[in-house]
Chain length 476, copies 2
Amino acid sequence: MGKENQFVSQIADIESDFPQWYSDVVLKTKLVDYGPVKGTMVIRPYGYAIWENIQREFNARFRENEYENAYFPLLIPMSFMTKEAEHVEGFAPEVAVVTHAGGEKLAEPLCIRPTSETIIGKMYGNWIESWRDLPLRMNQWANVMRWEKTTRPFLRTSEFLWQEGHSVFASAEEAEAETQKMLAVYEEFSKNVLAMPVLTGKKTEKEKFAGAVATYGMEAMMHDGKSLQSGTSHYLGQNFSKAFDIKFTDKDGVQKYGYTMSFGVSTRLIGALIMTHGDSRGLVMPPVVAPVQAVIIPIAAKKEGVLDACRALKQSLTESGLRVVLDDSENSPGWKFNEWEMKGVPLRIELGPRDLEAGKMLCARRDNFEKSEILLDGAAESVKALLKEISENMYRKAKERMDSRIVNAETLDGLLEGVNTGNFVRAGWCGCRACEDKVKEFAQATSRVMDKTNSVKKCVVCGKESVHTVFFARAY
Amino acid sequence: MGKENQFVSQIADIESDFPQWYSDVVLKTKLVDYGPVKGTMVIRPYGYAIWENIQREFNARFRENEYENAYFPLLIPMSFMTKEAEHVEGFAPEVAVVTHAGGEKLAEPLCIRPTSETIIGKMYGNWIESWRDLPLRMNQWANVMRWEKTTRPFLRTSEFLWQEGHSVFASAEEAEAETQKMLAVYEEFSKNVLAMPVLTGKKTEKEKFAGAVATYGMEAMMHDGKSLQSGTSHYLGQNFSKAFDIKFTDKDGVQKYGYTMSFGVSTRLIGALIMTHGDSRGLVMPPVVAPVQAVIIPIAAKKEGVLDACRALKQSLTESGLRVVLDDSENSPGWKFNEWEMKGVPLRIELGPRDLEAGKMLCARRDNFEKSEILLDGAAESVKALLKEISENMYRKAKERMDSRIVNAETLDGLLEGVNTGNFVRAGWCGCRACEDKVKEFAQATSRVMDKTNSVKKCVVCGKESVHTVFFARAY
C-alpha cells in the first residue's frame, strides 16, 4: 500500500461499519475527544471552529428576527422543574443534581439546566408588565446537561452546547406563527449553511417536547439512512406562563397570561453534517462552516519563488475573508493531500513552478474530486465562486440521495423492509399511541415528523383510516 | 423637579453611597438582574452585548498570539482536584458538587469547574507526545462556579462567564515569558478597549492563585478608590504537568515534564468599566464595547423630512459598522436625553429641521458633555473619529485620576490614612506574611501587586529593610 493510503487505511469502511467510521473520523481529524467523565466530550479547536461558524451564521439570522442574546443561570431550583407537570416528568430522569456547595449541604437541591424554559419563564414573569413589553424575544448560547445512558460525540453527550430561543406573545396566533417562522429559519440555515436537506413537520404527541403543546422538528438523513433530529421549535401555549406567572396587562386593562414558544439547536449539528456529507476518505466540510476553506500545498517547494508565491496567495485570500491554511510542512504532497482530504477541506490548491509560470493554480474539489486551473489573477473571487458551487453541489447531492430514499409502505412488513434497507418510510397512521408503539416494537423505527398533507389513506398498522401521514425511520 | 430629572433622581448619589449607586445603575439600565438562586445573576441583553464585544476584541488578540478556542467539560471528577495539593486547598471550599445524576447516586462526586487547569491538564497529558507538539496554546470561553458568601452582580457571583487560556511549553523560560506576554495583552486591552488604566505586577505568595508558582495581576481603581482585580496570568511551573503527567519526548530523546501557564478574565470586567467610568448620571460606556455607540434623537420629529433623515442617517452609520439606535418613541427629547445618558451611550446625535437645513447634526458627548456640530456629509467618518477621541479622553481622565490617587506611606498610620481617603498606597514590605497580615488587620487593605522596582527602603510595618515595594488598597 502506497504512502498516500496510510490515512485512508486508518478509517473504517463507511459502508460496512458506519459507526466505527464515525468514531474514526471525529477522533482522527481531532474534532473531538472523550472527556474524563463518562458521556462527556472535549471539543477540540478543529471542531470548536465549526461551532463558532455556526454561531456567527445563526446570530445574524436571530438578529434579523429581532432576537437579543442574554445569559441565564446554569443552576435551577428543583422546585422550578416541578411547576410544569409534563416538563418535570420528561426531564427529571435526566438531570444532574447539585446537593452540596461551599462546603455545606444545600437547603434545596439545584439541578443543572437540561433546558431553560423554567428559569427564563421565572425571569420573564418578573420583567413583563404590559402589552408594550411584548413580544419579548431572547436567545441564549449555553451548555446544558442531560444524563444519558448511551452517548456518542456530538450526537448524544451528557453535556452539550446549544442555543435556546425563548419568546412571549400576547396571542396564541403570534406564538404559533413564531414557532413556524423559527423552524423555517432552521430549514434555511440547514440548506444554505450546512448544505444539508431536512424534512420538517410536526411531531406526534409521543415525540414532542415535555411541556409543549406542539413540537415541530427537522430531521436529516444520515449516510446509513437513519434519521437525526437536528433542531426543534416548540409552541408552549400557556403551560409555562401559568406555571411562572408570565402575565401582562393588555390594551383593555385586563391581566392576561402570555403565550410562549422556544426553539433550539445544538452541537449535534456538527454530528449531522459529518454523517450527511462524509465519504470513504473522511470528512467533507460544508464551505460556509469549514474551519479551513482552502489549503494551499506547494509543489516542488524548494524551487525558487514557489513558497513566496504560496505565501502571497494565502495572504490575498485571507484578506478577502477566506479561511486558508498554507501547508509548508516537510511532508510529501501526497501525504498532505490525504491529510487534508480526511479533514474535509473543501478546496485544495496546488501551486508549483509550472503553475507559476502560467499564472495559474490547480484547484481540486473535495466534494466531487474535480480539478480545474484557475488564474492567480483575481484568485479570491474565483475561489469564493467555487466554494459557493461546492456548497450547492453538496446540498443537491444530499437532497437527491434523501429523496431517492423516501419510500411508501402500506404494511408493517413493508415498513420494516423500508427501514432495513436504509430508507425513510412514508406511511399512514390512525393517530393512536398503540399503533405508533407497534411500529417501534416491530421495526425499531419511530415517527420522525408528520407530513404536511395526509396523502395516504390507511394506517400502516391497524388499517383504519389515516389521520396523519408520518415519516418513520430508525433514528440516532 | 423638572421632567428631565426623573431618571437622575432614581440613582443614589455616587459620592455619598457608591454601593447603592452601583446597584441602581446595573439594575435600572437593565444590564443585569438577580437570579433565583442566591449569588447568581441574569445577564440581560444590554449587559450581554458588552460581553460579546469583549469576546470579539479578545478573540482577535488571542488569534494574533496563536491561541485556538476549544471547549472542555463542565464537570470535573473530585479526584482531579486533589492531585495538586495547593489547588485543592484553595478551591475545595468554593466548589459546587454534583452527587446525583440520571436518577442515581454517582460513584464519584463531580465538581462544577471553578477553573479548568485540572481537566485541561489531563487532556494535554493525553495529547502531547513530543517537542513537536509544543508550544500548545488553547483558550476556552465558559461558565465557571465558585460558591461565594457575599456576592454582587458582575463583581462576585457564584456563576460567572470567563475566558481561560492554557499553554504548555518545553522550557520554564518560555512559559514565564508567555505569562508576562498575556498580562501585557490584558493591559493593552484594558487601555484600548475599556479605556481603563491598570496597575500590573506580581502578586505576593498570600494573594497568588492556588497551585501557581507565581501570579501576575492587573488592578483597576474604582470610583471610590478601591481596587478591583481585573485579570490574572499565572506561571504554573511543573505543578500541573507533574500532577497530570504532561510529558513530552524532547529533541534529545528524553521524556520531560512540560511547563504550563494560564490566564483569565471574566464578566467582572463589566463591573470594572462601570465603576471606573460611571458618574452621577449613570453609566459611561467605553465606545469600543458600548452596545449602542450613538443614539439618534429626532427633534420636532413631526416636521416633514426629520424622521426620514434620521432613518437615512441611522442606515448609513450602521452600514459603516457603527452600532446605532434611532429613538423614535413617543417620549419627549428631554426624557430621551436622560434615559440614554443613564445608559451611558457615548454619543447623542440630535437632528431637527434647522440642522437638516444647514446639512448638519448636533453631537453631544457623554464623557465630557461637549457639543459640536458635524456635517451630515461624511457623518460616519466624523462619528468614528469622535468615538476614538471619547475613548482616549476617558482613558486619560481615568489615568490622571488613578495617578493622583497613588500615595506613599512609611507608617501603618499613613497607610490607613491613605486608604481611608480613597487611595492606593505604595509602601515598603519586608516580605514576611506577618507584616502583610498586619496591614490587613490594621487598615483592612491588602497587597494588590508588587511594584516593578523596589523604590522604598523600609517595611511599612516592621521597619526592617524592604524587599518589595507593594501597592496596598482596599479591594472588591
